[in-house]
Amino acid sequence: MFRPYLSLALALFATVALAQTVPAGYPADYAQTIAAANKEGKVVVYSALDTKAAQPLIKDFNALYPNIKVEYSDLNSTELYNRFIAESASGQGSADVMWSSAMDLQVKLVDDGQALAYLSPEASKLPGWAVYKNQAYGTTYEPAVFIYNKRLVTGDEIPQDHTAFAKLITTKADKFKGKVTTYDIEKSGVGFMFAVQDTKFFPGMKELEQGFGASSYRVYGSTGNMLEKVSSGEHLLGYNVLGSYALVRAKKDPALGVVLPKDYTLVLSRVLFIGKQAKNPNAAKLWTDYILSQRGQKLIGSDVELFSIRNDVDAEYTAASLTKQLGPNNVKPIPVSAELVTYLDQKKRLDFLSAWKATLAAGAAGK
């Protein structure tokens, strides 16, 4: 009795589902990708963004493609890389999608031939610097910021740009001795990358480094540690902290203040690519396109509290809002480019590190 109705309903549902899920402006054969992805039934995502933060994206993706299960694992960016190369080498297959804030490692993997070539239909909506070899895509627009303890650093003291930051820690050495923090560039790839970029954009970098040395600054491997210690007042100032995390915490933590440096603000973009050995390449394509789509980016700019990279998205945290706030010339996104792997060369990296240490020591000796 119910049979015919049921099958009719099913058929109807299938057509509707199919019609709904081929997004506007995508090539017609995208329906085949969706069908193949549905058959694959899942997508394995390795990401440096923790699961909790990514939950809105996973839920929304599932609303869009209910038949594709997202197996999401969060690892820190170095672990992500380690696991991916080890698993790939063992031939057991690894992540379908790699999504990490370690831009340099992601580009290296692409250069090493670990990524699947895939031109996303959304690629044209991204800034040119965010598309690498049609294999890897920048997905976010996360500023590097200063943080400070609101209870103990107030008014004019709050540094608004890099020069002011350097001046503050050198002129008020007593107050800030042992109270300034930034990434340990030996432990944190992101910290290292920011430091390299700073030497490009900030003429007073040497003085700042000496200031770090003179104030015997404290370094950590992770953003969370810096946020915690500045919030508690153990430290007063944090330099080059990943803004997406800082702003989220600052929202509910009355002790934590965030400054977007006025002279220039470095911007990091989380890089995503599809693994060459991906077992679910079609589902991986859907995930990639979804993350880059207006719908995914809107969530990234709102619930996920990263910054959307697309200019045509209306949300709280977007590239557009950041640019508007700081002026187009003061935002310095780090391009997803071959240049990023320069410092993965052992000698160059060690040279940079020892020069950095020498400057710190000179600063410490000067006081």
Binding site: A86, Q92, G221, A255
Partner: protein, 564 residues
């Protein structure tokens, strides 16, 4: 008798299999690390070449030497602090009429069952520059005269936390020593302290020496404390230097890490052998004990309060400060100067833990690995115990040394080596993302500890019963199953509880094995700490302490002796 010792070689298939599996599980990771240390890239990389470049690199790196020096300093510091305190504590607990001993004993052992990672984190939030206690002290007295980030502080804290390790050996040795010589000294007018310093403690010198080597060795393996407390001032020790190498060159430098690990093993393995040598000597020593008379407790008199105050202070600093720190941090949104406790209280962190499927799975896995995994581990240890029990042949001696090997490898690297084994050894591949991988690593890393528990149970079974069974025609397997096993069942249950607590506490072994499906609290804490999700770290630490507490409560309820 001869029937029991005559045979040599693999006399039975189960025995041979047990020894073979043990050897594979212990040696495969070690050999892999050794091999990796002589390569120029990860061993699975096509571009690798063989050479000693890794050693050249670390020997040329000033950080390596600084870290080695720091390790020596901290280990020495630990011995200097833990040895006298542990020995005195043992004397007071074993020999005097200190009140409420029954209650104090389990408290003394608490530090050895709580994850050092948790304790270290507890120290930061409790006694760090803006910790709860520091802020209170500053409000009350205008300043807090302590810092916890200097190298000496780390050494002192580590020393205080290792007092139990000395205590268990010293008190065991005192137990086997008659009290008549001490009474003689007391009658001649010596104060309790003098009795301890000139009579009792010199008599147990071998045990103390053994404990000193043990503590020094543990100092070399220290990871959680220096990871958390050494960060702010940049103090590296060998294990944290090794961890730092994960990222120093931008890409993982397994060859360098392996080279450091081999250097650590080069120090720790001789120490392990020295321990073994000392232990055998100590047993010889124990035969020269005084007449086994009734133990009489020395009256402490006025000293009672001094002793009680000392123990209370130590417990306060080593246990109560960090644990209350953790507990408080788990329930507040932010802390430090100007934060009003009443305004920042929250249950949110626990909610985030229980909302997060991964963390729920981590808790579940941790319970599972402690209970079910602990039971299977004890079964394995037991099998190995039976393979060597009452057999004095070459294979038994081989196993004796074999079980000591994992003790010398830092858990962190052992975990990494197991990850490689699971990745590249095809039969194990499907099990990699299951909790089995974590369990195997735990079981191997704690092999020496587990074997000590089992063999102390086995030692208590006297030979007569086994021989009687043999005489009436039972074969070796039947004797083991029907005589020995039932006799040691209480010992096995006690071992299970102890292994449960050790597995709940373990953290470094799992760091590299962490994957979807294998989450455990300990490794998750390291990862979350690195990632900086401090709220969650606090809440999860609290859960971990509660789990260990439950284990401890059950153990005490059933009268399990908390030490071997």
């Amino acid at each position: 008798m001869t029937a029991l010792t005559r045979t040599s070689g693999f006399t039975s298939v189960p025995r041979g299999l047990t020894i073979l599996v043990t050897a594979a599980a212990v040696l495969a990771p070690l050999l892999l690390i050794l091999y990796q240390s002589f390569l120029s890239a990860p061993f699975f990389d096509a571009k690798k070449t063989i050479g000693i470049g890794a050693y050249q690199f670390i020997f040329a790196d000033p950080d390596f030497w600084q870290a080695s020096l720091n390790s020596v300093v901290i280990a020495t510091c630990m011995v200097i602090i833990a040895l006298p305190l542990g020995a005195l504590l043992a004397f007071v607990m074993e020999r005097t009429d200190l009140p409420a001993k029954r209650w104090i004993e389990p408290l003394i052992l608490v530090p050895s069952f709580v994850s050092p990672m948790v304790l270290a984190f507890g120290f930061v939030v409790a006694a760090g520059p803006v910790g709860f206690y520091t802020v209170w002290a500053t409000e009350l007295f205008g300043g807090a005269p302590w810092g916890i980030y200097s190298l000496t502080s780390i050494g002192v804290i580590a020393g205080l936390l290792h007092v139990p390790n000395v205590y268990v050996y010293a008190s065991a040795a005192l137990k086997s020593l008659g009290s008549d010589v001490e009474e003689a000294a007391r009658v001649a007018g010596a104060s309790p302290f003098r009795v301890a310093a000139t009579v009792s403690l010199p008599l147990i010198m071998p045990a103390l020496l053994f404990a000193a080597v043990l503590v020094f060795f543990l100092g070399f393996e220290l990871f959680g404390l220096p990871l958390v407390l050494g960060d702010p001032e940049g103090h590296l020790v060998l294990s944290t230097y090794l961890y730092k190498l994960t990222n120093k060159l931008g890409v993982p430098s397994y060859h360098l890490m392996a080279a450091v690990a081999i250097c650590i093993v080069a120090v720790t393995f001789p120490l392990v052998l020295l321990q073994r040598f000392l232990l055998q000597n100590a047993r010889k020593y124990a035969t020269i004990k005084g007449k086994a008379g009734r133990m009489r407790e020395l009256p402490l008199g006025q000293w009672k309060w001094v002793a009680a105050a000392l123990i209370a202070t130590w417990l306060f600093v080593g246990v109560i400060v960090p644990l209350t720190g953790i507990a408080l941090r788990a329930f507040v949104t932010n802390w430090g100067y100007g934060a009003k406790l009443a305004e920042v209280l929250t249950l949110e962190h626990f909610q985030s833990v229980f909302d997060e499927p991964i963390l729920v799975r981590a808790i579940w896995n941790t319970v599972l690995i402690g209970t079910v995994g602990g039971a299977i581990a004890v079964a394995c240890y037991c099998a190995i115990g039976f393979a060597t029990h009452r057999r004095n042949d070459g294979w038994s001696r081989f196993v004796d040394y074999l079980v000591l090997v994992p003790r010398a490898i830092p858990g962190l690297l052992a975990g990494l080596a197991f990850l490689w084994v699971f990745l590249f050894f095809p039969p194990l591949q499907p099990l990699r993302t299951t909790i089995f991988s974590m369990w195997l690593a735990y079981t191997v890393v704690w092999l020496a500890y587990g074997m000590r528990l089992i063999s102390s149970s086995l030692m208590q079974v006297s030979t007569e019963l086994e021989e009687a069974a043999r005489t009436v025609g039972a074969n070796r397997g039947q004797v083991s199953r029907q005589i020995t096993l039932p006799l040691i069942r209480h010992g096995l249950i006690a071992s299970w509880l102890l292994v449960f607590m050790i597995f709940e506490r373990e953290y470094s072994t799992g760091v590299y094995l962490l994957a979807p499906g294998t989450e455990v609290i300990g490794a998750q804490l390291v990862s979350l700490w690195q990632g900086g999700a401090i709220d969650v770290v606090a809440a999860l630490s609290f859960v971990n302490v509660v789990l260990v507490g439950i284990g401890l409560a059950i153990a005490l309820r059933f009268g399990v002796k908390l030490r071997d």
